[in-house]
Amino acid sequence: MAYSNKAKEFFNGELKDMHTAGTFKEERFIESPQAANISVEYPVGSPPKEVLNFCANNYLGLSSHPEVVKAAHEGLDSRGYGMSSVRFICGTQDIHDELEKKLSEFLGTEDTALFASCMDANAGVFDVVLGKEDAMIADRLVHASIVDGMRLCKAQLYNYKHSNMEHLEEKLKETQDLRFRMIITDGVFSMDGDIAKLDKIVELAEKYDAIVMVDDSHSTGFMGKTGRGTHEYCGVVGKIDVITTTMGKALGGASGGCVSGRKEIVELCRQRARPYLFSNTVPPVIIAAANKVIEIISKTTDRRDKLEENTKYFREKMTAAGFDIREGIHPIVPIMLYNAKLAQDMARDLYDEGIYVIGFSFPVVAKGQARIRVQISAGHEKEHLDKAIAAFTKIGDKYKILGKKKKEIIEIYGY
């Protein structure tokens, strides 16, 4: 047997270390469709419990929307289940082309290429356009998939302090002699819900002749007046050269991602991006549903407007209740607790109260920055928000953190 005891013991040791360090991730079984109300079996073997979901990326509440589900059924009936092919052999249907055109129109870009996920889009895009004579200049808090994508690219890697435009400018000056420079950022950063200063970034890109790339996964569908994304929010539609985004969050939440932007870059992705060339095509059922999603959100801004109202309501009420919340306007609402154990304990107690949220701590966020990340959805009704606010207030009171800021919370619980 090639799989030796030595290897087995080593791997088990690694898993044990994760348990000891508290970084082992347990999965909870959801026995209902994704929605504001879900039924969860946790711990394994327990009877299903009805809880309110405040940790999904289901920003527009479209994951189980009847029209989206119906479109998926129709897609399944008319175009089948699988394509058994990558795109360039026999994996491109008319509906794939339709979705790429719709996405380009929605995002205000020249062209779009679909990928199996945004992780795949990020894994492929850098290596396609940049070589060793070029520079990638990334915000230090970009998503892990961007970090991995940059590692697969031979271009020189630079990074700048989070959202610090002076530091970005320094890096642009430092790399002035290189052939191409690409500024790389998330549109919205997933742990804090803060928004990249895309207007300033575009200004610097124009001044220093750099390409701009934005991962807008936590933004597409609802940021900006008509939900186009962070570029609309920042007033720079048409000025972002490369946008990567996902259909796995606001846009129905199933899976699939894309590279959208300058047509030459997108075409190079079709020709050269390894995850595009060597992954199976996105299945028709997802494409059909995503086409419906774009249709729904292009027709009306009702859902993004409701999300905006829900977010504003929740943020205001939670601040008034005395929680230390990262300021902002995004439906990612970080409830700052600073101490990892406190974040875990409160999340567990909130679950008992019927509110499903997750505590995040190092290494997912910086040391001493533990928090519960709440995610608001257009699928939430006022009563859901009120129930969550009441539960948070009860548990916050139990742990005596209401009305306390960073310093005072750390005084009680430490980092």
Binding site: R140, V147, L157, Y158, N159, K161, K367, G368
Partner: protein, 84 residues
């Protein structure tokens, strides 16, 4: 020279990684990576700084998180390249 080197790297770490409002003190023994001041992704700036400043090339197998975890560790690494 070693003192100058220490000062030079500490200054760079402060400028490159700390925000103005950070109260964090950095000396030659301060853990940088294991403490979270510098993450493994941002470490590339430090490596590039040392390479450019001293005209050396630090191979990947030597550019470990441990080698960059404090200013003292970096000074020890630089000694291998005859920088002191």
């Amino acid at each position: 020279m070693c003192e100058d080197l220490k000062k030079l790297i500490i200054e760079y770490v402060k400028k490159e990684y700390l925000e103005e409002e950070d109260e964090q003190e950095v000396d030659e023994n301060t853990p940088l990576i294991s403490s979270g001041i510098v993450d493994s992704f941002s470490m590339v700036s430090l490596k590039m700084f040392l390479e450019k400043k001293f005209e050396i090339k630090i191979p990947d197998e030597k550019a470990t998180t441990e080698a960059f975890d404090s200013v003292n560790n970096m000074i020890n690494l630089l000694k291998e390249f005859n920088v002191s």
